[in-house]
């Protein structure tokens, strides 16, 4: 592997890992509050389509980004109403949300298939990295720069603030949280709103920075990979950074090898992220230390 290839892989690992990191952070917040959202894939699709459509209409990528974040939040609140307000089954509601996102994004994105957009502007940070290093490294969009600080912020929120402590208490034992005078439903709504926001941003980064086009179902399972990354990260935002980089790396290695004309079928290389995810889950399963919030996936029906 040549030096340029390595740098290329790293640079594009950061690029494709960014979207995964935002999605994973959102899912971590939700799961820390005790709620599994299998609909992340759908939220990302809606974010991707909304961000692309609004950018194409207004010519303003930041407006598109804001629209994607808003749409992600709004749609995730439908899910929140079902699983928190109505105590519906989380897995079925999540899968339904995935379908909803698949359909809604297809409807939204249809008029914009083939549209051209400028995408999120590249920002060169003053004093960071010489110009042109590795062909574009340190010359990224704002979401790339903010990804790691966001992870730190989420970590701080979850583990160093009262709000985070309360949120985690709800995820561990809602009845104990009630006994302590907390309102689990309110905290879960907040967590899922935040998760939707990040899911929308994660989707928007795909269309506004990575592909610059819209295609139906373009997230291709990234939402599910992010859910697996939550397990990999042991529900910790800091570990999520490492996980997103690893999986972004797998994805970009595949792209770089293809570009370099490696004699491996593209279909085999496309399998890598899914198989790597499964492998990581197997290794983690072997370890069998459960870091999962104790009340994860259960509907809280109240205390007698």
């Amino acid at each position: 592997m040549s030096g340029a290839l390595v740098l290329g892989v790293v640079a594009s690992a950061v690029m494709s890992g960014t979207s995964l990191l935002y999605a994973t952070l959102g899912e971590i917040v939700g799961e820390r509050a005790g709620i599994v959202n299998l609909g992340l894939e759908g939220i990302m699709l809606i974010g991707a389509a909304t961000g692309f459509a609004v950018t194409a209409l207004t010519g303003q990528p930041y407006v598109g980004l804001a629209a994607a974040a808003t749409a992600g939040t709004a749609v995730n609140l439908i899910f929140a109403y079902l699983v928190v307000g109505r105590r519906a089954n989380q897995l079925a509601s999540g899968l339904t949300l995935m379908f909803f996102g698949l359909g809604l994004s297809a409807l939204e994105g249809r008029p914009f298939v083939g549209a051209l957009i400028a995408g999120l502007p590249k920002v060169r940070l003053p004093g960071l990295g010489p110009a042109g290093l590795g062909g574009g490294f340190m010359n990224d969009d704002i979401l790339v720069y903010l990804a790691v600080p966001t992870a730190l912020l989420i970590w701080w929120l979850l583990f160093r603030t009262t709000w985070g402590l309360r949120l985690r208490a709800v995820g561990e034992s809602p009845s104990a949280a009630v006994a302590a005078g907390l309102d689990p439903a309110r905290l879960q709504y907040q967590a899922l709103g935040l998760a939707g926001l990040f899911g929308g941003i994660a989707g928007a980064h795909l269309t506004l920075a990575l592909t610059l086009t819209w295609a139906e179902g373009m997230t291709a399972g990234r939402g599910f990979i992010a859910i697996a990354l939550v397990i990999f990260a042991k529900w910790n935002p800091l570990w999520a950074i490492a996980g997103a980089l690893l999986f972004g790396g797998a994805e970009s290695l595949q792209l770089q090898l293809q570009a370099a004309g490696a004699d491996v079928s593209p279909f085999v290389m496309n399998m890598i992220p899914y198989l790597l995810t499964l492998l990581v889950l197997i290794l983690w399963g072997w370890n069998r230390q459960s870091a999962a919030p104790a009340a994860l996936g259960r509907s809280f029906v109240g205390v007698e």
Binding site: L38, I78, Y81, L82, R86, R87, A88, N89, L91, A92, S93, L95, T96, L97, M98, F99, F100, L102, G103, L104, A106, L107, R110, E216, G217, A220, G221, F224, I225, I227, A228, I231, S265, F267, V268, N270, M271, Y274, L275, T277, L278, L281, I282, G285, W286, R288, R298, S299, V301
Partner: protein, 346 residues
């Protein structure tokens, strides 16, 4: 989550009326969205009714669309009975189609009496073995089957593409990669000058078998015991480990039959876009049906009608077929939101 379903299905007329109201609400909301997108929903609904019920062919197409849903719904229902969540019907369908195609390529010199049974067995085996992977990971308590079946859904179509872009690529089709056309002996028979094929009979037979096993055999009883309380079942001496493997193998196999029927009856060759999400829709059918056989029959038919709306939208109004997912999801959202809040809702 399926346990309370069986009781509800006993009042079928009441359920039907209830479901009609749910469908009406969802259709109204869907119409609003379509109008917002500048489309004409009423025209689409009228077109659908004319298309589906206007002549015998349209109605036969409903049965064609229902067939894979029956298979994939059973593939989700069977594991649901022991508390497993198989969302991998899509991947299992693709692997069934893949292995059936391998069988056709190897056996196409033989008569239909050899080829068709072989294709059936191979289709079942392809899906079943694919289903065994998450089963094993779950039985060994390594990976939750929900996430592993979801991930494997993305791998199976890539295996299919690998072969039809590679060793199985037909010489006659240079632009659109696909396997060579199946010989006539490897085509499932069709009926009444329509596309309704023997796969429907397979699917109905599977459904009857499913009902018999669940209600009339020791296996059904033991599966319910595992679904109710796996730890208690284990202490009763029920081999839970073996049940997980066997149930997921059979469930994957049934989904594999859907894939076999798609290549051997509908497409006549292996193609990359085999299924517009039959595996996922089958899961939702099974969930709405409370994993009961009668429910699956009714819900598959209903979802086949709803998918026809998607066909119409695609043909007459230029919308992607995936748009129909909004309607399906809308119905599920309402059902999920309407369920009484009860302690059992876990």
């Amino acid at each position: 989550m399926q346990r309370d379903g069986a009781a509800r299905w006993r009042w079928l007329p009441a359920r039907a009326a209830n479901f009609a109201s749910v469908a009406a609400i969802a259709l109204t909301a869907f119409s609003v969205l379509l109008i917002a997108a500048g489309k004409n929903p009423l025209q689409a609904y009228v077109d659908t009714i004319v298309y589906v019920f206007g002549n015998a062919y349209g109605f036969s197409e409903l049965l064609v669309r229902m067939t894979p849903l029956l298979f994939t719904a059973i593939a989700a229902a069977l594991p649901a009975r022991i508390g497993l969540i198989n969302v991998g019907g899509e991947g299992q369908l693709y692997m069934g189609a893949w292995l059936a195609t391998a069988g056709e390529l190897a056996l196409h010199d033989h008569s239909a009496f050899v080829v068709l049974p072989a294709l059936t067995v191979l289709g079942f085996l392809g899906g079943g073995l694919w289903g065994l992977i998450p089963a094993l990971l779950r039985a060994l308590r390594l990976v939750n089957e929900t996430i592993s079946t979801l991930l494997l859904n993305y791998v199976a179509p890539l295996i299919v593409s690998l072969f039809i872009f590679g060793p199985w690529r037909s010489a006659e089709s240079s632009s659109y990669p696909q396997s060579p056309a199946f010989v006539d002996a490897a085509r499932l028979p069709t009926f009444f000058h329509s596309r309704v094929h023997a796969g429907l009979i397979y699917a109905l037979a599977c459904l009857v078998l499913y009902w018999l096993v669940m209600t009339r055999t020791r296996f059904g009883l033991e599966m319910s015991a595992i679904g109710g309380n796996p730890e208690a079942a284990r202490r009763l001496g029920i081999p839970v480990f073996r049940y997980i493997l066997a149930v997921m193998f059979v469930a994957g196999g049934v989904a594999g039959l859907a894939g076999m029927a798609e290549v051997a009856a509908i497409q006549g060759r292996l193609v990359s876009e085999l299924s517009p999400g039959y595996g996922f829709v089958g899961f939702l059918v099974s969930w709405l049906a409370g994993a009961t056989a009668s429910g699956i029959l009714v819900m598959s038919l209903l979802f086949a009608v709803l998918s026809s709306v998607g066909d119409i939208l695609q043909i007459t109004q230029g919308l992607p077929f995936a748009v129909i997912n909004i309607l399906l999801a809308g119905i599920l959202f309402i059902v999920l939101g309407r369920r009484p809040i009860a302690g059992a809702a876990r």
